[in-house]
Amino acid sequence: MIDSLFSLLEGFLVALTWQNLLYCFIGVMLGMIIGILPGLGPVSGTALLIPITFGMEPVSAIIMLSGIFYGSMYGGTITSVLVNVPGEAASVITCIDGYEMTKQGRAGTALGVAAIGSFIGGIVAVMVLTFVGPFLSSVALKFGPPEFFSIMLLGMLMIVALMGKSLIRGLIAAFIGLLLSMVGQDIVSGEYRFTFNSFHLMEGIDFAVMAMGLFGISEILINAENPARVGKPPKVKGLLPRREEWPSTLKAVGRGTGIGMILGLIPGANSIIASTFSYILEKKVSKDPSRFGKGAIEGVAGPETANNAHSGAALIPLFSLGLPSSPTMAVILGAFIMHGLTPGPTLFTNNPDFVWGLIASMFIGNVMLLILNLPLVGMWAKIAMVPYKLLFPIILMVIFLGTYSLNGSLWDVGMMMVFGIIGYIMKKLDIPISAMIVTFILGSQLESSMLQSLSISTEGFLIFFLRPISTVIMLITIVVFAMSIYSTIKNKRSNLEADVEI
């Protein structure tokens, strides 16, 4: 423990050289820009920039890449809050209450809380995990395909059960999302599914195309019905939560940190699972769940913290086991190997200056993000002050061009517009959009983990109930499902559950 502390101090010596500080700064800034641009997310951001790190020292290179990674996670939040377009998958959940807060003139607060939450989540996750991570990550290996399948099933079901007015409508959204995730080539068998022999569909539907249409365009169509309702946005009332909101905000940040950390340790657990669970937990523990979906500050603080704690924690399995826990981590792993570093049990002993330097730089990077953002938040929030009649055409244009820039293809733009209309109709029918997009993101992993479980299993589907962790999760899933059905039959749902209209 003491040894680790000394190593960490030495790490700071490495990270605090002016060069590494500069790279850290560049990484964080680039990451933020990448996160704000619609379409570009952390995976593509880090992958795009890997070649630039060739001429650098390995430590500097990895410091910069990690900076891009968590910078883009934060950047993605900004567009979710301001214009209801999630910049990357983990911010989908932030849209729900973040955008509502913007409508109430509290964009500054939403962004401020997200910055503070991200900072605390990121720092605490790194700090705790530095000391206990290597031990925990071997425990996390107990998560095999059956556990993955059960936890993803639980996450999806919770989204459905807790977010809509009707279980059936939620399930319809979820299953359409799953069906859409099947489009493209199947990873396991190589079979092309639902591509209708179109080359454009072979790689599947892009998350960004779907999110920009379902969230961004549909919101503008809803607003178009009644321009007077949008009117002039109220003044931005400061960057910090109101005095009475602090305790609940900080509690949400604390819970978010815990959830993000635990899920980040498990190689393969997506960050959207972390933010989803955090949102659901906040809604469950809240005294007045009806505020959720109407601009509840915990609905932003919790998930944002969770997703940053997740990104910090995700580095631990990479360091200690050499196993990437997300697509972004896989890209960073490639960078490690390219620079002659072999992540795995030997990394801490063979390259201590590297590991500790990087950990120290994450402290510094997170501080930088916070310092950069508190003043910038005011600037971002001013975007929400632009008169709507001027703002919405510009948003439409950015969404249009952002989609076009993905592949330079109008096909994507057309598909995005179709999703926009679908999103509008879904809002009118009160079918929850977020249930559809969450299942879409997790769909292919859900499928492959189920196929793996069944291949491993000697008892068929019983495998999900023969392993302790998976059994517990499955039982919770069944209870949640049973309760939802019960309340649907009793038709108490609309009284009991606070309704979120997304």
């Binding site: 199947d186 178009a224 009649k389 244009m397 057309g414 029918l429």
Partner: protein, 150 residues
Amino acid sequence: MTNAKTGIIAGVAVLTLGIVSLIISFDYGYYSEIGPGPGFFPVWISGILIVLAILYIIENLRGKNVSSEEWPAGQSLKQVLFIIMSLLVFFVLFLLAGYIVAGIVFLSMVFWKEYKWYVAVLLSAGITLIFYVLFNHLLKVHLPIGGMLF
């Protein structure tokens, strides 16, 4: 049109989607000798979607759990259709005449009612050009200036 009716129409649409995808899914191997095949998931998902669609239609027929959202009518409907139409114009002009023309026409259309005509045109041209510079020069994403027409 009542909300229950639109709910039924939507239910039928989802039902159709489920049936079509179920038929397509049967083309992919449901089960291989080693385990579930590529058709396993799609078949189940489509099947469950069909059941859900039927339940949804029944709910709406009984008038239970109907969406409380109002469908737009009159002026509101016109405004929604107007935005969809202007996006389509943007799309088609982008294809035919390139970004600059499409951008200016699209923005002028949506600004027309809100601003005086010359303000609308100037504003549109300004915004279009700013984005052109941003994407083409800063981000190096090539936005076509000419289209299929010229």
